[in-house]
């Protein structure tokens, strides 16, 4: 008996020792970086200006030529484009000092900046530009969504600081496409793998941007510090720490505690939390200009929806303003036009379709959809006016909007069936045209308006397919192709005006609301400005008051 007890005690002691050793070993790591206002490290270096922000997922591999898991804002801190996209769609020199476009719109010659160095001190020149283009063009199918890649014929080094790009056909948004965060940004020589194929990975993230990745712990944090070799105006703050916090409510609590200085992005905190932080008066909250439009896509190949009057009835039959206030709590703005007016070529005069249920009923009566007495759903030739709206079941806003529309349209005699789907199934059905009504979003700056008109004309995204029942579809496609290839600015504006006017009148894409980015920051953060490019980081010029 005594022997057993001894043995038991011994084994318990051994287990406790083992477990505590493991635990001690695990906890003896360096503590995760905390916000700028509390750590001992910061009191040592009093003058250091640092900002801590949260991001929902790990920043990824920081490969400039590939997509997930790399996060756009972080890629844009390290890598720079030839041309930068600024407010109102203005294109400004970045790594290219200037550029010329040949008269036929096919040859683009870039004069590169001469004082640019990568963060490792190596020189930025036409040869490295070409090497990056070559790496991207090794996998054209990966980038086939991007217009410039599809029309790119060849690239050449003219001299050390002149780079030329030749297109197979004129394509005016080529420059806009080059301003994107990926895939055409520039990795330094040291980052290239031996075979030059960056799609499989890079050696290290070496860029020309204002920041460099100084410390990184996957799924926990990333620390960016100033690039000492930066050619432009150096950032005003010394350090940016990105903490990976996947949960939205935790982000808010960490911010309230002061562990975070800034929460930025789209849908990164709940609408309730945003309004609550705003009302507390203790922090600064801001909403950006519209970055995209939340719309409904009506499938005009459907017999019922091929009638313009039915589409107009649907658009005037629901209250966008109430939906924006009730569902998005004012964080989105009622949309009257398919594209908001802060994009290039979109500031045109078009007639919005206002909320008017009487008018909606009149449209339906006129189209022959009558309400039989004693029934709630309109009928025509014995067929009920019944439609299906598909939505992403994991998106609470889509769900709430779908339910609201179901209620509102039933008041005008339209029966709406709503079906929640997996995102991939929703996309599949959209592409196959297997839907009556679907939610749809445009791409935002700098993709729009050219990417938007492109998907209206080109099949494969579901939008051209859904619009193919429009009587003037061929004419519309013709205009779109002309606009994308046009080299004359005035002509291009005319074409855009006509295209957008037609789409607005046809009501096959029904704008609901403009989506905005949100930011919440501690009052010590100053000079915050939303980037014009939806995917760029917002740290240009940002500062903190000491």
């Amino acid at each position: 008996m005594i022997r057993t007890t001894k043995k038991t005690l011994l084994s318990i002691a051994a287990t406790i020792f083992l477990v505590s050793t493991v635990l001690m070993a695990c906890t003896k790591q360096e503590a995760a970086p905390s916000a700028s206002n509390g750590s001992a490290e910061n009191t040592a270096v009093v003058s250091e200006k640092a900002i801590t922000l949260s991001w929902p997922r790990d920043i990824g591999t920081m490969n400039p030529h590939t997509y997930n898991p790399s996060q756009l804002f972080a890629q844009s801190m390290i890598y720079e484009p030839l041309v930068s996209y600024k407010a109102g769609g203005k294109l400004e020199p970045m790594l290219a000092e200037s550029w010329t476009i040949s008269e036929d719109g096919k040859e683009y010659t870039f004069k590169l900046r001469q004082n640019v160095k990568f963060s490792d001190g190596t020189v930025f020149n036409a040869a490295i530009v070409k090497k990056n283009f070559d790496a991207v063009m090794k996998n054209p199918s990966l980038h086939s969504w991007l217009g410039v890649i599809n029309v790119l014929d060849k690239t050449e080094v003219v001299d050390e600081y002149t780079f030329k790009m030749t297109l197979k056909q004129a394509y005016y948004p080529a420059i806009q496409d080059l301003s994107l965060v990926r895939p055409v940004r520039f990795l330094g020589e040291a980052g290239f793998p031996d075979d030059g194929d960056t799609s499989k990975g890079i050696k290290e993230p070496v860029g020309t941007g204002p920041w460099l990745l100084a410390e990184y712990k996957k799924d926990e944090y990333a620390i960016f510090t100033r690039n000492p070799n930066y050619w432009g105006e150096s950032p005003k703050i010394d350090k940016i720490t990105v903490k990976i916090i996947p949960d939205a409510e935790t982000r808010v609590l960490a911010f309230e505690k002061g562990e975070l200085d800034l929460i930025y992005g789209e849908g990164v905190i709940s609408m309730d939390a945003f309004n609550q932080l705003k009302e507390s008066g203790k922090y600064t909250t801001q909403l950006s200009e519209p970055v995209g439009t939340r719309s409904l896509l009506l499938n005009t190949t459907n017999d019922k929806l091929s009638d313009l009057r039915v589409r107009l009835a649907l658009q005037s039959g629901f209250n966008k303003q109430a939906m924006v206030e009730g569902i998005t709590l004012g964080l989105e703005e009622k949309a009257d036009t398919i594209l908001s007016k802060n994009f290039p070529y979109t500031d045109i005069d078009v007639q919005p379709v206002e909320y008017n249920t009487e008018k909606a009923a009149a449209y339906l009566d006129e189209a022959g959809w009558k309400l039989p007495s004693g029934k709630a759903v309109r009928e025509k030739d014995g067929q009920a006016l019944e439609l299906e709206l598909i939505f992403d079941k994991t998106d609470p806003i889509q769900k709430a909007m779908a339910e609201t529309m179901q209620a509102e349209w039933s008041a005008i005699g339209v029966k709406l069936n709503i079906t929640g789907l997996e995102l991939t199934t929703q996309i599949q059905r959209r592409k196959a045209g297997e839907f009556d009504i679907d939610f749809w979003y445009n791409y935002g700056a700098p993709y729009d308006p050219h990417s938007f008109i492109n998907v209206v004309a080109e099949k494969g995204w579901g939008v051209a397919e859904a619009n193919s029942g429009l009587p003037m579809k061929q004419e519309l496609d013709q205009q779109i192709h002309e606009a994308l290839a046009s080299t004359d600015e005035t002509k291009r504006q005319q074409l855009y005006s006509s295209i957008l006017q037609t789409l607005q009148e046809q009501s096959a894409i029904v704008p609901i609301s403009y989506i905005k980015k949100t930011v919440v920051f501690q009052n010590k953060v100053t000079d915050f400005a939303f980037p014009a490019n939806r995917d760029e980081n917002p740290f240009e010029g940002i500062n903190i008051s000491q």
């Binding site: 007890t5 477990v19 493991v22 635990l23 695990c26 906890t27 790591q29 360096e30 503590a31 995760a32 905390s34 997922r57 790990d58 990824g60 591999t61 997509y67 997930n68 898991p69 199918s141 990966l142 086939s144 969504w145 996957k218 799924d219 926990e220 944090y221 903490k243 990976i244 916090i245 996947p246 949960d247 409510e249 935790t250 609590l253 960490a254 309230e256 505690k257 562990e259 994991t394 997996e422 995102l423 991939t424 199934t425 996309i427 599949q428 592409k431 494969g460 995204w461």
Partner: protein
Amino acid sequence: MVSYIGKRLLAILPIVLFAILITFVLIHVSPVDPAEAYLTAAHIHPTEELLAEKRHEFGLDQPLLVQYWRTVVKMAQLDFGQSYMTNEPVWEDVVSKMPATVQLAVSSILFAMLVSIPLGFLSAIYKNSLIDYFSRGLSYFGASIPQFWLGYLLMFFFAVKLDLLPVEGKGSWEHLVLPTLTLSLALIAIYTRLLRASVLEQLQESYVLYAKTRGIKQRIIMVKHVLKIAFSPVITGLGMNFGKLLTGTIIVEQVFSWPGFGRYFVDAIFNRDIPVIQCYVFLAACLFIICNLIVDLVQLYMDPRISLKGRTDQ
């Protein structure tokens, strides 16, 4: 003993094969096309050519039986393919995230034991006393409160209001406190009640009465005899919960930004990251079986009345 363990380990095979089969069937029954899911997760526009390329790469153009056989063979080599989200081999991802999850699971179990053993024992001995009422209240609270909510509440009071601990993250021991408390409360609720009931049952046994008549001190009867036997159901619970903790710290890891693999699986589910989901099911099956086996062995050691023969016959 060795042959018993060998037999139990062999029994893992059919169970795991069955688990793989179920996952395989569910994935093929689901309307989500893995090639489409991959491209959506990778933020790449799914053109027809790319889809065909990916389907071929994933072997989705092969007959179902061939696909199943390939999946089994690969899993046997711990090759779960690449995650759609991270583009890294799934097994490497899991191995790198495992220590954080194990750390959290072990600390929660230890803390739960530390609280529930004395609490359960005392509330049985002092039945219907203040301590019993307290343990009952705590158990109701722990069993019924949703973990994510408890996590937020603890965060709000201890991190934001009282400023004693960090809100989230991993690093120092302070970071471990709130997630451990959140996870262990539910365990404390179960173990305390389990131990209390078990001790009360043992107290009715005749050996307790005989021990008393032999003049053995009450304290010795309780600690050396009653507690030792009464502990058996708690060990069973512990084994079950350890497996559950290793696979189920999902919510707590998400809430506290704990970089374990629970969070990795949440992301996988939201993004239809099929290789990761397959790996999860496989791991969960293996872990549960292994934990059960360990529990059986420990019980065998603690209570010699449970015979090996009886076990294997069952």
